[in-house]
Symmetry: C2
Subunit: 259 residues, 2 copies
């Protein structure tokens, strides 16, 4: 691997990747990140031409997109030439959904000669391993029900998470994300003792938008009155593992991963 740049989204992941890998940090306008690195490049999505020049100038060969990019600003009146040329592609990808947009942005970086690296590849110690992590695995019943719903939605590029309780669906993740869904379940169906299942979508490119849970996800699941959380082993990041497992134990939640 040559020199690494981390395009820093929000949340803990960019910092966790940078802590274990010497890297240049790219800060996007509109995205809050306190990740620290060897150097910082300030960037705007409207000025990708400038960003490519800055990255090449810093000797960067490898790129890692880490964290949520959802709040990055994009002002079509401030485009540089390179970005203007890419605009029709980005717009059409945006209309096809979250994943399509991210896949297209990744492809653009690859065309510029950068190698794309997944956070799971740079921090394999964060990836959920198979088996029980806290309490015990409880993968029949509600977990199986939520898993079936996610499997049905996957081909439509919808749903990384769902909550089932006593055979009934209480939450299906949409654009607003897992935490918003858990808050909704807490508000509208408290004390259900249900199960949250979180998985990658079938065919999802883990280098871009790998599902992740943190101690806050555990706290929200506990507030929603759930009994446990099932992850997809190898396909969900724990941010960070010790804190997540301690939180699950502290709240008396089962936490496990299945294939």
């Amino acid at each position: 691997m040559g020199r690494l740049a981390i395009i820093a989204g929000s949340g803990a992941l960019p910092g966790l990747v940078a802590a274990a890998n010497p890297a240049v940090i790219v800060r996007l306008a509109g995205v809050d990140s306190d990740a620290q690195g060897e150097a910082v490049i300030a960037a705007r999505l409207e000025r990708l031409g400038q960003l490519f020049d800055d990255l090449h100038g810093a000797g960067v060969t490898d790129i890692c997109l880490a964290g949520a990019m959802r709040r990055a600003t994009f002002d079509t009146s401030a485009l540089d030439e390179a970005t203007e040329a890419l605009l029709p592609r980005v717009m059409s990808a945006q209309a096809r959904g979250d994943d399509a947009l991210l896949r297209d942005i990744m492809a653009i970086f690859e065309e510029q000669g950068f190698t794309l690296r997944g956070a799971h590849d740079l921090r394999p110690d964060l990836v959920a391993p198979l088996g029980a992590l806290a309490g015990q695995a409880d993968q029949v019943g509600d977990a199986a029900r939520a898993r079936a719903v996610l499997a049905a939605l996957g081909p439509l590029d919808v749903g990384q998470a769902a909550v089932a309780a006593k055979g009934q669906m209480l939450g299906i993740e949409t654009l607003q994300g897992t935490d918003a869904m858990l808050r909704h379940v807490a508000d509208t169906a408290p004390g259900s003792r249900g199960v949250l299942v979180k998985r990658a979508k079938p065919g999802q490119d883990l280098r871009v938008d790998m599902p992740a849970i943190g101690p806050e996800t555990i706290a929200l699941a506990a507030r929603a009155g759930l009994s446990g959380i099932e992850l997809q082993a190898g396909h969900v990041l724990l941010l960070d593992p010790k804190a997540v497992i301690a939180a699950a134990r502290g709240h008396g939640l089962n936490l496990w991963a299945v294939p």
Copy 2:
């Protein structure tokens, strides 16, 4: 048709059915209903044997379940003999989901010799007709996206409604119902100009749990910043049609029905 009894769930539907059809009203413990009829039978789900006797005694031959039954109480320590014998069936249906439970309760009434009548059959004037009802039909784009999501979930007995905006899913109905989903969308993704699609699940028995919208659904859709609502013609009730259409016009929402 012989004598009709309406088992009154919550909401406006029982009253609307009773207003057009002479009927005995069955009031279930725990369910709020102000529907008025020729006579009233007070009933408890734990005492179905008593209810069957009361219905036969009143000369009832036809039964209509109307409105939401979700809040009916069911205390397993207060069962009469007939209900106790039915309990294993009801419990196993309950574990299989909302529809399974309702289908099973319907089957039990049919075995007792009653004819089941759908609210849509007793009030055909409330059923959504094909075409534009307010504003104009806008059935491509977001409506098609939400429809595809419901079609994928239907075989799992999940989802009568979903919201899509700019190709992204913002809400997928779960047990809490359409109004709870719209409140969630209003709180977490306001001003999206998205589309709500409401349909029956494939194979859903319309005599039991027919999807319905009222003026409140329109007001919630407007509060969520949606641009329109698509219904399934012949499969969704309007409670009541004049008020629903007036509300849609008043809020500047498109309202239409497709096959």
